[in-house]
Subunit: 211 residues, 2 copies
DNA sequence: GTACAACAGTAACTTAAGTTACATTTAACT
DNA sequence: AGTTAAATGTAACTTAAGTTACTGTTGTAC
């Protein structure tokens, strides 16, 4: 765990804080698809992401989903912090997009470290700040863009996050993430294929050129 | 300014912090419609809202708008903090929805008070937390609801924030806030009038019963 | 190899929302 | 009172997206 922590957070946190983290944290490896947090869960520890990517989803009362954003190496789940402090239930669902490695910190430390370490405080503020900006981008996407553009952005982001030009998802799964329907997504993907931007296959999509 | 500050923040902040605020802050009264922050502005001070309401808007590259949420008494503009810390430009526009009274704090104090006062730290975290939840509601609204429901929610929220059952806006203004078109809003408002939920007039709408 | 279930393709249709165009109403001003 | 500009009403049409229904394809298990 030491190398993992130093690698991702070594420059961020001061030595004494790193030491404290090592003392209380647990290390966790989860496979792709693993559900880390469900809507309504009470959260007891805070995840520091060491490798991989976590996707954060919102769900409405009907069970319809929407992908909000991805968490990556060196980031944490701000929603979790928000939940912890208010002793509230989670507003979101978190699922491992790829295999992922996490350092789990008990939430009691939150308050303590926030007053004790400037580097921790900065990290927490930075996290909130980043998450708000991600949410603004999500709002932009849903409010201002049409489905074809949203789909293109989705594919781009997926390539970036998974670091692969092969997207291993069915059209139905993409439809869930974008809160659309399978037929609509198939239709738009077909258009992109005709423009020679992607290649469609069963269970995966090969990205050719989506600049 | 002392009464205003104590009234809105007296229970939130410890006496010494209240004292410090009084030493460095300036007091500001703005009329309805006053533009407090424009997209791209660099922000030099942080507003603590004492009375009135501020509406926070997002704009895309085409100039299309969307209302994100309202700030009310006892709240602050989290976006401003985020901007300050990163020395970034504002991502949003802020306009006084009603006449408003503000206490403006120079941003240099942010960092200092964050390490010095627990009450300030809690206030800042609470603000971030609240803002993220507001943004989630905005995402929900835009992603999951149809325009008629969004319009109804918009009217409800406006009644709450302005504390009046008379909404002094044209259909065009409402269309801007919801990122829709005037004709669509007129159409839906007419439906609500036929259901006897509202009464339409030139330049204002009277809310009868929107539970 | 055959059967099956999951996945993908596509046509035809419905609906919500946006657009265009024009008529009507209202408030404010001279 | 008459003029004007802004606001509102409404019809007719377009478009994006969602829905239904059915066909074809592919990978996997037996």
């Amino acid at each position: 765990m030491i190398e993992e922590l130093k690698n991702s957070y070594g420059t961020l946190f001061e030595d004494q804080l790193l030491q404290e983290i090592l003392e209380v944290a647990t290390y966790k490896e989860v496979p792709e698809g693993f559900k880390l947090i469900e809507i309504g869960d009470y959260v007891k520890s805070m995840p520091l992401l060491v490798s991989g990517a976590i996707k954060i989803l919102r769900e409405d009362t009907e069970g319809d989903e929407l992908l909000l954003y991805y968490l990556e190496k060196g980031e944490t789940c701000t929603m979790t912090m928000a939940c912890c402090m208010g002793q509230k239930k989670s507003e979101i669902r978190a699922i491992a997009e790829t295999d992922a490695k996490l350092i789990m910190v008990p939430i009691e430390k939150m308050e303590i470290w926030t007053s004790k370490y400037k580097s921790w405080r900065d990290f927490v503020f930075e996290s909130y700040h980043n998450r708000i900006n991600e949410l603004l981008l999500t709002v932009d996407s849903v409010a201002f863009l049409k489905m074809d553009e949203r789909l293109l952005n989705y594919l781009k982001e997926k390539v970036r996050v998974t670091n692969s030009s092969i997207i291993k998802n069915t059209h139905q799964e993409i439809a869930y993430d974008l809160h659309s329907s399978r037929v609509v997504i198939s239709r738009l993907l077909k258009k992109l294929e005709k423009l020679e931007k992607i290649e469609l296959h069963r269970n995966y999509i090969k990205i050719i050129n989506i600049s």
